[in-house]
């Protein structure tokens, strides 16, 4: 281990900026690095890179798991265009994402603002984070019970208020909003903590200046807090939205796609195609489309909301 190099003050700077060093120096710690990277690289190649390539290939094949995949060109994609279940799945997923992310983001910003103004208590923050640490499956089942048509506590409460009980999971119009709401309950605390962390990056002098200028609460929020929070909000939106598109667990243990396809979200439809019909090629093609959709959504958000630039500059 003779490769003692003098570190530049900035650790993140690239290694190769100095004039061409002798070979030994140029390779640096390559040998040691290879040993340290070996396990992670095996995992990365076998369970990330290889399946990504294989998934792309499978999307152009007919594959039932029983015999080798048969290349069939763009057939899967052609089939997808004419598959009304696929389009329904996309629409249902989109409906879910819009409700889930819309409600969750507004609530999270509200919660973060309220916490920011009222309390830094770690107990409060921990309490609102708690649902996020419990499995999706657990959360789904608890709400499945609480929202039960006959004996669920929520419908008991509605009846007590004089409202007719609602078949939250049994009626097509209610199923997606219900599932979206359940996941808002699970994620809003976590999202609020991300926004809360963002609020703390806004320097106090900006608020002081606003106060001196006589700006009221609302005006300060719309004109100062929200614009300065934008880079954080974009990151939060990208991350939560990518997660939201992948809704599966809640559907799988409650409605299983029903009633009448109203909750057959794209992830669930892919799962059904692959694991109950053994239609792996078609399922891979749909996963590919989902991949592309997610990439476009993230890029658009980052572009449209100019994530990198802060208004504070």
């Amino acid at each position: 281990m003779t490769a003692v190099t003098n570190a530049p003050p900035n650790e993140r700077s690239h290694g190769g900026q100095a004039p061409p060093p002798p070979k030994r120096r140029r390779l640096g710690d390559l040998k040691v690095a290879m040993i340290f990277l070996l396990p992670a690289t095996i995992g990365f190649v076998v369970f990330y890179i290889w399946p990504t390539l294989r998934g792309a290939y499978l999307s152009f094949t007919e594959y039932s798991l029983l015999e080798a995949p048969k290349f069939n060109g763009l057939d899967n994609y052609d089939r997808m265009i004419h598959d009304s279940f696929f389009w329904n799945a996309l629409v249902v997923t989109l409906e879910y994402v819009v409700i889930n992310i819309g409600v969750q983001t507004v609530l999270a910003v509200a919660i973060a603002m309220v916490m920011y103004r009222l309390t830094r208590s770690i107990t409060v923050r921990a309490a609102i984070l708690l649902p996020y640490l419990v499995a999706n499956v657990v959360v789904a089942l608890v709400w499945y019970w609480m929202l039960d048509f006959q004996v669920g506590i929520v419908n008991q409460g509605l009846t007590w208020l004089g409202i007719d009980p609602i078949a939250f999971f049994g009626e097509s119009n209610w199923a997606i909003p219900t599932i979206a709401g359940i996941n808002v309950w699970r994620h809003m605390g976590y999202t609020a903590l991300l926004v809360f962390a963002g609020l703390q990056t806004i320097p106090a002098y900006v608020y002081e200046a606003a106060e001196v200028d006589g700006a009221g609460e609302m005006k300060t929020f719309w004109r100062i807090t929200l614009p300065l929070l934008r880079p954080v909000l974009v990151m939060v939106l990208v991350v939560t939205m990518i997660g939201s598109f992948q809704i599966f667990d809640t559907v799988a243990v409650t409605t299983r796609g029903g009633p009448i396809n109203s909750t057959r979200v794209i992830y669930y439809y892919i799962f059904e195609r692959a694991f109950t019909r053994f239609d792996f090629g078609y399922a891979s093609a749909m996963a590919m489309v989902l991949f592309v959709i997610l990439a476009i959504v993230s890029l658009l958000q980052i572009r449209l909301l100019r994530a990198k630039e802060s208004d504070l500059a």
């Binding site: 490769a3 340290f36 798991l65 609102i128 640490l133 499995a135 996963a287």
Partner: protein, 293 residues
């Protein structure tokens, strides 16, 4: 002006308190239902206290009561053994966490503390994997695990997550970068090699972030449903989340065993709640920008 402000504060407090109640109530309701007698539940759906308080539901899902006892309290009588599923979850989450964190730490060391050509490019490639949605790699991974004959084995459930995740490497690299290089150089002059620096210096100095990452990894692995559902259906390797799904689908449509179901969800949730309470401060504070996941 001052009065208006205080009205606003009262409203804000009210909002926060309602929110906390909404957040915590389902946990209470889980407990209340789990401690109830299922046959009596339907008659008293809005009682805030357990109905005919009993540990029957827990005994039932832990496989400790006879079929007759279970059916008398509204259970389905099907044999369920959440002890076994609990053990399976512990096995899967523990091995996954230990391997994933350790191997990711090794990789993070190579990316943060060693100098070699192409380092930052390789790191970027690792990070890019964060962009690929899990379902896309899950289908081929299932084929791979199936071809390896590892369906319904712990190895099959654990392997894909055992080596690394891009997030874990990214997370640890950040902390490793912040350790001063002088310390490392002093150790090297004393003749310490890389293994000694890694185990004797970097890991102890990063104990706090490593612990945070390990806790988060454990929770995620414990809560995972999709992958174990695909590769670990059989009872001997079935983890809690999968078992809950099965239990829910076995429950009769007419008179579901709600008490049993809630007892089972509590068994699945409680270890994570305890883990969280023990490390609440550490976990809560870790949710910031490095915590985006």
């Amino acid at each position: 002006m001052r009065k208006q402000l205080s009205v606003g504060r009262i409203l804000a407090w009210a909002f926060l308190i309602i929110l906390l109640l909404l957040t915590l109530f389902p946990f209470y309701w889980m407990l209340r239902t789990a401690l109830s007698n299922n046959t009596a539940l339907a008659g008293n759906p809005s009682s805030l206290l357990p109905v005919e308080t009993t540990l029957g539901a827990f005994k039932r899902v832990l496989g400790l009561s006879t079929i007759e006892e279970a059916q008398a309290q509204g259970g389905s009588g099907a044999s369920v053994n959440f002890w076994l599923y609990l053990r399976n979850s512990v096995v899967v989450a523990t091995i996954t966490t230990v391997c994933q964190v350790f191997f990711s730490a090794m990789a993070a060391y190579a990316f943060a503390r060693l100098r070699w050509p192409g380092r930052d490019k390789v790191f970027a490639v690792f990070l890019a994997a964060l962009m690929v949605p899990p379902i896309f790699t899950t289908l081929p991974n299932f084929v791979l695990i199936k071809n390896l004959g590892l369906l319904n084995s712990f190895a099959g459930i654990i392997l894909p997550g055992a080596f690394m995740t891009p997030f874990a490497i990214f997370f640890l690299r950040q902390f490793f970068l912040s350790i001063s290089r002088e310390l490392e150089e002093a150790a090297m002059i004393d003749g310490a090699g890389h293994p000694r620096i890694f185990f004797g210096m970097i890991i102890p100095l990063s104990a706090a972030p490593i612990a945070t990452l390990a806790i988060l990894t454990y929770i995620n692995s414990w809560n995972d449903y999709f992958w174990p559902l695909l590769v670990g259906q059989q009872e001997n390797v079935r983890v809690l989340t999968v078992a809950l799904g099965v239990f829910r689908s076995q429950t009769p449509q007419g008179g579901p065993d709600w008490a049993g179901l809630m007892a089972a969800t509590l068994i699945a949730a409680l270890p994570m709640i305890i883990l969280f309470l023990a490390f609440a401060k550490r976990i809560t504070n870790s949710i910031g920008f490095s915590g985006i996941k």
